[in-house]
Symmetry: C2
């Protein structure tokens, strides 16, 4: 299969790099790193084994890329609109586009912009960041779940999962809505609270007031999922997320890293969209709504 | 009437100073400022006319003070328990104790500690701060409303209001519960949000997200008041508070000043107590509950 990678940061660079390293035909769309990668290749430092790809199929513009069988999109959602132009050149009738992106609503938007495209959600559990031009630093974890959104051919998803396995990546097929909302159970409390309270996951759980707040927010997502008819997003899952977070290394979620590095925060798809959907289904999430407002304020002050 | 002033900061120093300046018999309990005041008197810089009281009735201990007809308490509520010892020496059978303090629940606690004492709430609308030892800086406003909590003699309250008028202070009698909860409508959103978002009133209202959040929080207090059967705490009052705040000078509420000056914040009576009462009456205030949790976290981190 031919792979296209759109968004070669910590996540796209890792998965694309691993697939290429395993011998797959991978085509990378670069932005500012193009020249550096053409001259020096792509470097991946990884807890699972580091490697350098001296020669990669690098492109400066999507228009120059070939049609691909699978496109992995790992762009930050703050520029989601760019996909209107970036996807058409690489997408053919049988192409599967996997959106390895945060939040709720990315598939629905991309589907509306490009009605025929076959989409899946990529839910990555990974700590990986761009450490420099053409240089990915993969610290830990790395598994990815694939949730079919509008792919007409299950085989395509199975082939992708197989290629990921061969490349040494844990991957599995999951139910789309359940996976997206389960991810929201963790993402919605921790991304915003680590920003508004300038802290990390461990400190939020060590303080009884914020520990309860995190749990309340997770339960708001559970109630919203229930109203939407999404299954298995329940109290036992909340307890599982609380326990998992307690044993994790003190962690700064992606929004905290974005904020610290003065990059725009993904408030739209991580907060505004799921909040709007939940409201529409009669399940407002008041504490998460408040968190969204605080983040909007912080964003406006940092401009 | 003989007056006692317990807590001679920006508020107690202003009202006590004005009453003494007008010729009333006023007795001040000082803490660290005692020596300075005995040597230099009490200085009040005020937008309504500055003055110095060269000789004041100053005490270092409540036990040395005479019984008073009216005691004005202007202590921060973080040390509310001190009143168990500070009040008995100055309180006789006919004494009125006016708690010029923030939040909900101070009268109920003091009443429980000292069952016979006659209490009223003092709701001050004032910008005044201690600027140095024995030195009060009164910037603007200055009116005070008195809400009878357990005073058996309405005349006592009327005499107090009359003395305040003569001293040049706007004062009026108000319904106790309505006044306390109306004050909470403004205090609960602005005190905490200016701390968590490190900002002032004007910026919160200039941003559409936090403007809505402030309104939502005010409406939570309205709903709680309704559940408690407190009258006239309604939507028109919320609109009045929003408009008033919009025309105010950019303002840092007392909790913001406490936080900036690394003093303990009055989270207990401004948040925890009204939240507990509202929950008890079946009217949870989820966004204010979240604000309380964030403040508890901030408080724990600053220790």
């Amino acid at each position: 299969m031919r792979y296209g990678i759109i968004g070669v940061g910590g996540v796209g660079g890792y998965y694309g790099g691993k697939l290429a390293h395993a011998g797959n035909d991978v085509h990378f769309l670069f932005h500012s790193d193009y020249e550096h990668v053409v001259a020096n290749g792509l470097r991946v430092d990884s807890c699972d084994g580091s490697f350098v790809l001296p020669h990669v199929n690098a492109y400066r513009q999507a228009a120059d890329m070939p049609k691909c069988d699978v496109v992995l999109v790992a762009l930050k959602t703050v520029n989601e609109q760019l996909l209107k132009d970036l996807l058409p050149p690489v997408v053919g009738t049988d192409t599967l586009v996997v959106l390895i992106q945060n939040g709720i609503g990315v598939e629905s938007d991309v589907q509306a912009w490009l009605p025929g495209v076959q989409l899946a959600a990529g839910l990555a559990f990974i700590c990986s960041a761009k450490a420099g031009p053409g240089y990915v630093n993969h610290q830990c974890y790395g598994s990815i779940n694939i949730g079919n959104y509008s792919c007409r051919d299950d085989n395509r998803i199975n082939e992708l999962i197989n290629d990921l396995h061969v490349a040494g990546i844990e991957a599995a097929a999951v139910e789309y809505s359940e996976a997206r909302w389960k991810k929201a159970v963790w993402n919605m409390p921790f991304n915003g609270l680590t920003v508004t309270l300038n802290t990390q996951t461990d400190k939020l759980l060590a303080n009884p007031a914020t520990e309860q707040l995190v749990r309340d927010m997770m339960m708001e997502v559970v109630e919203a999922s229930r109203a939407l008819g999404v299954e298995n997003v329940d109290e036992p899952f909340v307890e599982k997320m609380m326990s998992m977070t307690r044993v994790m290394t003190p962690y700064s979620p992606s929004m905290k890293l974005d904020y610290e590095n003065r990059r725009p925060m993904e408030i739209g798809y991580i907060y505004s969209r799921p909040l709007a959907i939940a409201r529409q289904f009669g399940a407002p999430m008041p504490k998460l709504e408040m968190l969204e407002a605080q983040l909007r304020f912080i964003e406006s002050q940092s401009k």
